[in-house]
């Protein structure tokens, strides 16, 4: 090989990976980076989109948002909705995974339960919203069961009273989202060597001690990564809330996503909506960076 040929070969080897990456890089820039940058741009303009020659607005829209009590209520609702969802997704997912993994339960029953437990995952957000609207209707099944059991005295308007609405949507979201945890933890459980438990049995571990000292530490990587992902996703949930309560009544279920949507498409305040979207983006970005750092550290 001549030196010239060799350097040509080297160049080709150096460039090749970028060539392979380029289609996905181009698509990502067009479909993700470009809109993102545009939205960030809008958030600093007066009457973005609506006027052809928008003027620079500085941080005006951000100031307006931070001064808006509805924004702070939305932020608080989002946090409540997200934290409760993640915690219960994890707890319920863990309990169901442990049940499905237990060899004390009859295998046939286990298979039936496995299908049953995973059902919520098969529905899209819209269908879940419709199902829960029907179930939680004042004249719906839930009310009639609770009344027959004597738990509530009169019919509750779950989605339309400010006291219960946020809990109701959170509940629906918990129901819709635990299967991801269940499936991931089940896979994790099946990967824990059996002799860990046998060694613990011989050492005299009780069931809860095996859970604390073996199962949970062994599942920790899964618990942390799925929790972070779930947190990021749940923060952005829109259709479920939009279809069940639309953010109402009286902002009681307003979350950042519905707040932003309303700014954009009810008040046509696109600039302020853009600013709100950027705030959501920043929060998500922070969590994502945290997730990536965690993944790298492992």
């Amino acid at each position: 090989m001549t030196p010239q040929k060799r350097s040509h070969h080297r160049l080709k080897r150096a460039v090749a990976p970028y060539l392979y990456l380029s289609p996905s890089l181009i698509i990502i820039s067009l479909l993700m980076l470009l809109p993102m940058v545009t939205v960030i741009g809008y958030s600093f303009q007066n009457s973005a989109v609506l006027r052809r020659d928008p003027s620079f607005a500085g941080l005006k829209h951000y100031q307006a948002i931070f001064a808006d009590p509805v924004f702070w209520a939305s932020l608080w609702h989002t946090l409540y909705f997200t934290c409760m969802s993640v915690v219960f997704h994890m707890t319920i997912g863990m309990i169901f995974a442990l049940m499905l993994n237990s060899d004390r339960i009859n295998p046939t029953l286990r298979n039936i339960l496995r299908v049953l437990y995973i059902l919520p995952w098969l529905f899209t957000a819209v269908i879940i919203a419709v199902i829960w609207r029907l179930l939680l209707e004042p004249n719906g099944v839930v009310n009639s069961i609770l009344m027959q059991l004597g738990i509530i005295g009169s019919k509750v308007e779950w989605f339309s009273s400010p006291e219960t609405a946020l809990h109701a949507v959170t509940f629906a979201n918990i129901w819709a989202g635990y299967p991801l945890f269940m499936v991931s933890l089940l896979a994790g459980l099946q990967g824990i060597p059996k002799d860990f438990y046998e060694a613990a049995d011989i050492d005299g571990a009780k069931a809860y001690q095996k859970l604390i000292f073996i199962t949970i530490p062994q599942l920790m990587p899964i618990i942390i990564s799925i929790s972070l992902l779930d947190f990021i996703w749940t923060m952005q949930v829109f259709p479920l809330i939009w279809i069940t309560t639309g953010g109402g009544p009286i902002y009681s279920t307003e979350v950042l996503s519905t707040y932003t949507y309303k700014l954009a498409f009810s008040s046509y305040n696109l600039s302020q909506a853009a600013a709100s979207a950027v705030i959501i983006l920043l929060i998500s970005l922070g969590l994502t960076l945290f997730y990536i750092r965690y993944q790298k550290a492992r």
Partner: protein, 381 residues
């Protein structure tokens, strides 16, 4: 410390597979008993039943005089070392060893003291803060031992604890475990499929085949007087050569050769006379076959043999031969490996033997070391 007594233990798995059949075994207080047998013979099953990890289908099992059949593992006062070691990867060496004390709610100072003691015995002191992933195979093995020792159990159960180590480390750990057991004096049941471990480590060895106990005896007695052809073939490496021959008068004949038996052979085995004129299985260990051209082989009778291949190991030559006789299968699946396609016998020659592959030689055999088995039942005569 305690003796372990198994009486008529049977184990049938859910799929109706009889893994253990009528196992009777008593292990004395402080004894080191090796449970050995080919793969799948039920060694682990037997050990796991003693540990309580597997239910006993029928029979009685006593540890230290207490019937433990219906007891959970933790009440049996035993400790087990697993083949995989089963060390918890998220805990340090210290935490792994102290695990059972932590479960029992022992105070921290007491744990520290006991673990330090054990770490000293096992030379793990400098590793107490490491995680198992950062240890070498031999160190992990020692941590697993430490975890078993920490509770001072009545008995140790070990399931192939050395099989994950490389050959050299295995030899070293073999000696370490043996001396540790002597030092602690704890009743130990040790499962292995490696007959070298069986011969070198245990006070007594129990040979298992297909879920049935074949023989329990000291290594020396197993080697010198195996009760059947299977034990004869299984104990010793390379395996004993087993052939079919006809007993005519006091001569053993097969094909073109004959071996004269001395009176002593008949005196020692009164039953042998009754095989006169009939077929019999005879066995001879590779180390009792000699090169007739060397000094060591001069005094013995010889038979013709063809050398098919030679493994020169430095200290000895493993010589594969073909003799004019029908080889008998001992029933040990591992033994087949010792024979090539063209050879039917193996001999251990001294390293100064000059035999060459392909040559016809006279093979000397020490007829006082012959073993005889019934051709039908394979039981020793």
């Amino acid at each position: 410390m305690a003796e372990v007594i198994l009486e008529n233990i049977c184990k049938t798995y859910g799929n109706n597979f009889h893994a253990i059949d009528q196992l009777n075994l008593s292990v004395e207080d402080g004894e080191f008993l090796i449970l050995v047998g080919p793969s799948g013979c039920g060694k682990s099953t037997a050990l796991r039943m003693i540990a309580g990890l597997e239910d006993v289908t029928s029979g009685s099992l006593r540890i230290g005089g207490v019937d433990v059949v219906d007891m959970p593992p933790k009440d049996r006062d035993i400790a087990m070392v697993f083949q995989s070691y089963a060390l918890y990867p998220h805990m340090t060496v210290f935490e792994n060893i102290a695990f059972s004390m932590r479960l029992a709610g022992k105070p921290k100072a007491e744990r520290r003291k006991r673990v330090d003691e054990i770490a000293k015995t096992l030379q793990l002191t400098s590793l107490l803060d490491s995680k198992p992933a950062n240890l070498s195979g031999g160190q992990r093995q020692r941590v697993a031992m430490g975890r078993a020792m920490v509770r001072e159990p009545a008995a140790f159960l070990m399931d192939e604890p050395l099989s994950n180590l490389d050959a050299k480390l295995r030899v070293q750990m073999r000696a370490e475990i043996t001396s540790l057991q002597k030092q602690l004096g704890v009743t130990t049941i040790y499962v292995t499929h490696d007959q070298t471990e069986a011969m070198t480590m245990g006070d007594r060895v129990a040979v298992l085949k297909g879920g049935v106990l074949q023989q329990v005896d000291t290594p020396k007695r197993l080697y010198e007087s195996p009760v059947n052809a299977f034990v004869a073939g299984f104990i010793g490496s390379p395996s004993m050569n087993l052939f079919e021959a006809t007993l005519t008068g006091d001569e053993l004949t097969s094909g073109t050769f004959g071996v004269r038996l001395q009176d002593a052979a008949f005196v020692r085995r009164p039953g042998l006379r009754s095989y006169a004129g009939r077929k019999v299985v005879f066995g001879i260990r590779p180390e009792h076959l000699y090169d007739s051209s060397l000094e060591s082989g001069r005094k013995y009778q010889t038979i013709p043999a063809k050398v098919t291949s030679i493994e020169e190991l430095g200290s000895e030559h493993i010589v594969h031969l073909n003799i004019d006789a029908v080889r008998v299968d001992s029933g040990d699946p591992d033994a087949v490996e010792d024979y090539g396609l063209t050879s039917n016998a193996v001999a251990k020659f001294e390293p100064d033997s000059a035999v060459r592959s392909g040559s016809e030689i006279r093979l000397a055999l020490d007829d006082s070391k012959l073993h005889f088995f019934d051709p039908e039942t394979h039981l020793a005569i």
